[in-house]
């Protein structure tokens, strides 16, 4: 069980997604840019030009470096691009949730939580 200190300051949601997903979620008011010296955003808009290294770096930043992120939302088709990284992620905080995008419907077979379920039942 994680200690209280682990999740005391985790107050933001982070998003890695396509433009529509990020726009929608930012409309809900989860977007945050830190104070000027850092100017760190808690979201990454992924388009056709974004390479996997950038996605992985953002994932790393949200999950490992930043201690103020409680939940990371990532489009499933983007998670597929760094699938190994997502599947080997085992920390309790932040929690990773894969969400569908406009152009890529949600596939339960790829969902990391449901993969865990299958593993538990020995499939």
């Amino acid at each position: 069980m994680a200690s209280q200190a682990d999740f005391r300051d985790r107050q933001f949601l982070a998003v890695i997604g396509d433009e529509d997903s990020v726009t929608g979620l930012l409309l809900a008011g989860i977007g945050h840019v830190t104070a000027p010296p850092d100017n760190q955003k808690n979201f990454l808009v992924v388009d056709a030009k974004t390479d996997n290294a950038s996605i992985e770096a953002a994932f790393e930043r949200f999950t490992t470096e930043r201690k103020d992120i409680g939940i990371v939302l990532i489009n499933q088709h983007i998670a597929d691009r760094i699938r190994n990284r997502v599947d080997t992620y085992t920390q309790a905080f932040p929690t990773i949730l894969e969400i569908p995008s406009k152009d890529h419907p949600y596939d339960p077979e790829k969902d990391s939580v449901l993969r865990r379920v299958r593993r538990l039942f020995g499939e």
Partner: protein
């Protein structure tokens, strides 16, 4: 609403191979084997109970996933409608309009298993009360859910693991009290004032700061009160964009924290199941050893006779 059916998929039957002595009380000729068998049975029933709970969590997770998909589909649809009907000059409602100094107006709160808040109990009370006030536009359904969330300790998930919540930040009750109903579901209080006003953006941005306890003179480190993201896109935003915001707020405030909580709870149960399985395997091994020893003893007795 998530399906609360406690056990939609019956738990798998206890593994018959794990129990080599299914009738331990029939003859009671082998007292040494009795405790081991009981251990194995106990572990098996523990695992069954855990798996039953796990499956109900899984069912809830799946139901919430469906709800999230439906909400997101509506959000994308509304965004597409807004883009289709965009005014001249607006290329697309997207990242070109994001505010470079945006502050999160909805934040996560992580509570521990006992229901206590990691960040401070005052905030929990504030959030609950505020959300009741705020939820006027959102309909009674949300208020009902919040009420349920408030009763901590009833839900086994809340007792066991961490609980994620997303609430408006800062609690609107402190600033502009109770105006939220004008704007529809989940619009923040400072925003409402902005929309009600005559569109002087600078003045309205400062307004919540004046009302806040710290006043307007806070430095860069202190976070500025967030403004409604809708205002990034102008004063008169199209209705579909507002509807998209409503769906997104519902997803962020209600569904996503529940999914995160369930995911954490499921991970905790997985750990327990694995531990129980290991224990059972050990008990089985010990039992086998004892059986072999007993058989050897019986063999020796037979030879002596």
């Amino acid at each position: 609403m998530p399906n609360t059916n406690p056990n939609p998929h019956p738990a798998p039957p206890p593994n018959s191979t794990s129990n080599p002595n299914p009738h331990p009380t029939s003859s009671s000729s082998s007292p040494p084997t009795k405790p081991a068998t009981t251990d194995t049975n106990r572990e098996t029933s523990t695992i069954d109970a855990l798996l039953t709970g796990y499956l109900s969590l899984l069912d809830e997770y799946t139901a919430l996933r469906h709800t999230l998909h439906a909400l997101q589909a509506r959000m994308y649809h509304d965004l597409a409608r807004a883009n289709f009907a965009a005014e001249r000059g607006v290329r697309r409602y997207g990242r070109d309009y994001y505010d470079g100094r945006m502050q999160a107006g909805r934040r996560v709160r992580v509570c521990d298993g006992g229901g206590g808040l990691a960040g401070g109990d005052v905030d929990v009370k504030g959030a609950e009360g505020d959300r009741e006030e705020e939820g006027v536009g959102g309909g009674g359904e949300r208020e009902g859910e919040d009420g349920k969330k408030g009763e901590e300790g009833d839900d086994p998930r809340e007792r066991e693991g961490v609980v994620f919540r997303v609430a408006v930040y800062p609690p609107p009750g402190r600033g502009a009290g109770g105006k939220g109903e004008d704007e529809g579901p989940g619009t923040e209080a400072p925003t409402t004032e902005a929309a009600d006003g005559n569109g002087n953006g600078d003045r309205e941005e400062k307004k919540p700061g004046k009302e806040g306890p710290a006043g307007g003179g806070e430095g860069e480190k202190q976070s500025v009160n967030p403004i409604d993201p809708l205002r990034w896109f102008g004063i008169l935003t199209p209705l579909p964009l507002r509807q998209a915001q409503g769906h997104a707020i519902k997803a962020v405030e209600e569904i996503i924290p529940q999914l995160a909580t369930l995911s954490a709870a499921m991970a905790a149960v997985e750990l327990e199941v694995r531990r129980a399985r290991k224990k059972r395997a050990k008990a089985e091994k010990a039992e086998e050893k004892k059986l072999v020893a007993l058989e050897e003893k019986m063999g020796e007795v037979d030879v002596n006779e």
